[in-house]
Symmetry: C2
Subunit: 302 residues, 2 copies
């Protein structure tokens, strides 16, 4: 299965979880139509579904039933979407467009956009817990999978990275340690969580070669993802990523390119791709999806 | 033990979980000092710790070990605090003071305040999961407790209630069904979750008399809490609640008093207190804490 195949599965499940809602006074304990539609607006805006696809592909590789992996996959996409909604707010990046459409707060207002983000994070956790309750035979694996996801997304992961990203931008701080922290925490952690969540569901311990290999792949792939993003921001060869044409560089943001130059960033990217690829050896032929993912990422800047 | 006794235990644990942090570039996977201090600023601002105290008192009443109940209690307070930080933002209520101190976004800026809220919700979930991992002998109870908390706090509970509250305020909607939805979802659910989380940890099923009694107490107490808040907003007899002296009423907000008048609201409050008290019969003498809580609530408006 390709990234597109997995993305289609995720799309279908997300559509079922959060359909368009009609306006009516909600019954007690029901989700209001407005919250549902605001969450849906950003969730169904046509992302690549990279994180959930990685979780499903890793689950397939490790023999986790698709049925058990689907809600965690959807939860990851909800967490990713909540972070984008909050990131776009006037108090953060103040972006009015994302993927060619007005951002959430432009359509629903700032207050409702804050709540749509809060709601998506809450719903993600609710789905993870529902999944755990539905698979009582794998309680330990389910709880460990949740743990990986919230640690990747929370104060030790993505939220921590966003905090330092915002701080560095406002205070004009630019140093290599901070760059490294931000890329690891804001970007790479959320691209490692899908793999470790699948490994937890499969019952692999943190000392297993598989766990270590997936951690290495996730981190290197995550940093490659960031490097490619930074390179495309400057070269503008492609418009599929959120921000292109030198906006980050022009704003004096800390990026791979501002720190290492364009050629240096390309070299870094190539080295990261090789390291990620090497870590897949333990999975042999079964890791084809993850090798293809590296190749498609590298192709975008070569 | 009294509310103050429980609050002191919670205070001590929160202080240990989120101490003041010194400024330094964070190591990979570490929480940044700035995020920690922004979260701490609002978390340690001297609330009554009502929700965590209710969880601890209910755990004592049902025989749940204090050690197992403490992190869920702290998680509840973090969720409550995150909701206050986001509620105070310019895009929501735009409040600059809370409990006599500048609100989070006034001190740390809007972006960091959004992240402090996101961080507290994430940390709450992380602590709940850590607690589950630490008590493998009670995995089902732990997972069900998490479920109660996230359902009370999320799209089916508090976030849903906040969404309709904001909507009704902006659109000047005032009707009894909406009032009921908002009070149940925004206020009463988060005062019921502590009890049901403790009941889940104790192993009570949803069909047990204890579960039903705690649900009834939580809902009636929660609505009483809201009625008292609304009455004090108008009479201004007491300043211990966040907003007093008629601000809500003056803004045309939907309250017990605007809907039923002052005397009608007082009658509602008395009836709610009686219903809550009756539901405690199943626990006999052990429910003294919860009887005292009703009495102290009623005293504030009599």
């Amino acid at each position: 299965m390709t990234l597109k195949d997995y993305a289609a599965l995720v799309e279908e499940k997300l559509e079922a979880l959060l359909p368009e809602a009609e306006k009516k006074t909600p019954a007690i304990g029901e989700m209001p139509w407005l919250l549902q539609n605001a969450m849906r607006y950003s969730l169904m805006a046509g992302g690549k579904r990279l994180r959930p696809a990685m979780l499903l592909a890793c689950a397939d590789m490790l023999g986790v039933p698709r049925k058990e992996a689907m809600l965690p996959a959807c939860a990851l996409e909800m967490i990713h979407t909540y972070s984008l909604i909050h990131d776009d707010l006037p108090g953060m990046d103040n972006d009015t467009l994302r993927r060619g459409r007005p951002t959430n707060h432009v359509v629903f207002g700032e207050g409702q956009a804050i709540l749509a983000g809060d709601g998506l994070l809450s719903l993600a956790m609710q789905l993870l817990i529902e999944n755990a309750l539905a698979h009582p035979g794998n309680q330990a694996g389910e709880t460990r999978a949740m743990n990986e996801i919230i640690r990747g997304a929370g104060v030790l992961g993505m939220v921590g990275g966003q905090c330092m990203d915002l701080y560095c931008e406002r205070e004009r701080v630019m140093d290599e340690d901070m760059l490294s922290y931000i890329h690891m925490n804001k970007t790479a952690r959320m691209l490692t969580s899908p793999l470790l969540a699948a490994a937890a569901l499969a019952g692999y311990g943190e000392d297993s070669p598989q766990w270590r290999a997936l951690t290495a792949y996730g981190v290197n792939f995550g940093l490659l993802f960031q490097a490619v993003d930074d390179i495309l921001d400057v070269t503008g060869d492609e418009k599929t990523l959120g921000k292109s044409t030198g906006k980050d560089a022009a704003e004096g943001k800390l990026t791979y390119v501002t720190l290492y130059g364009l050629e240096g960033a390309r070299e870094k990217a190539a080295a990261l791709a090789r390291q990620a690829e090497n870590s897949l050896d333990v999975f042999g032929e079964k890791a084809a999806f993850f090798r293809d993912l590296l190749a498609s990422m590298e192709n975008r800047v070569s």
